[in-house]
Symmetry: C2
Subunit: 217 residues, 2 copies
């Protein structure tokens, strides 16, 4: 066993694969997922399905009161903004992942875990600064200075493209039918938002069938 690790789970394919990766590596894994006023609030339900399948404890933290800050800034939290099909700054939820990781650190301290698993990857890094290697390194310094403890965020996929994650996940047996990527909240994936487009392209490039149902292919 590698000891306890907190896995930041969104309910999407990347963090779900990170959870399977961590379990496969021998970590004793604890999930944490967030409600932050995202339109796709059902992603938290998917995170719980993945956790259940993995037999992993999961903590759901409701910080939806921050939606008052996020709305008007990001299309992920505000239905009055248009939903882009490719990257636009309005897809960035301001410093969201730092908020998630900070609460993840608190959770790690509370259960005496030394590792936080973060599914950030190379396909997102150029667009989303809080998914970059530089951010993770700086954040780890902040953890060290701000807690005095040996707790570290690791991002096993930081040098991998999204399609490579899917390929790895297929080998690890990740049940991708229990993941949600869409930024909207239809009963199927919209198929048009940036996240749906990235998902479809990644499964295609990986040569793995995508079990998600889409309104628009």
């Amino acid at each position: 066993m590698k000891g306890k690790a907190v896995v930041i789970l969104s309910g999407g394919p990347d963090s779900s694969t990170a959870a399977y990766w961590a379990k496969n590596e021998g970590y004793d894994i604890y999930g944490i997922t967030f409600r932050y006023g995202q339109i796709a609030s059902r992603e938290a339900e998917y995170a719980k399905l993945i956790a259940k399948r993995l037999g992993m404890n999961i903590k759901e933290v409701d910080i939806s009161s921050v939606n008052e800050i996020f709305k008007h800034v990001t299309a992920l939290c505000d239905r009055s903004l248009s939903m882009p099909s490719k990257f636009e700054p309005s897809l960035i939820v301001p410093f969201r992942n730092a908020i998630f990781l900070s609460i993840g650190v608190a959770y790690a301290i509370s259960i005496d875990a030394k590792t936080i698993i973060y599914g950030a990857h190379a396909s997102d890094s150029p667009f989303y600064p809080d998914c970059s290697r530089g951010f993770i390194e700086a954040f780890n310094q902040a953890i060290k200075a701000g807690t005095g403890l040996k707790i570290e965020v690791i991002a096993p996929f930081i040098n991998m493209e999204k399609w490579e994650i899917i390929k790895l996940g297929a080998k690890l047996g990740v049940p991708y039918e229990l993941t949600w990527s869409c930024y909207l909240d239809g009963s199927k994936h919209c198929g048009k938002c940036e996240s749906c487009v990235n998902r479809k392209n990644a499964f295609k490039k990986a040569g793995i069938p995508d079990p998600a149902q889409y309104y628009s292919n």
Copy 2:
């Protein structure tokens, strides 16, 4: 004018003085305060009183769902733990200030502020790692890498002892009767918890009358 600044407000004397300091320096100030399941939940009400007196907008963010993480770890959030009169690790709320600052950064982005004012000071730094200069410097690097924006946390009191802050605040006209320090939730300050003791000592050393009412002097 120095531009917009977000002030992290707890309702205590340090952050209240920081708000007065920032206004005096010419910042256009916006307050943010947090409910995180602290026993002293009334401190948020004091933060709002200070904001009102300053004519400052204040955002109250309720993340009390994190209390599930904080309880059992810190006496500030768990009535079943004993409340120390001097520093003990159980007074540390795990990585709390990183959580506050991360949400503060999101707020700054949403209102296009470039500065976050943080009342950390030299009397707390040796005990609370997330009040240290090293943490603030590392966190600023994380902001830079994680947002790509020029947003900075400044801690104007980082080299000052608590009594020096009170002395400065008295000159700036801070209405200390509108501040709350106690970790408990009596109708007066308990006078015995570490925070009450620190407050009493600071006012005494500054030679400023402390307007707080105490159960125990």
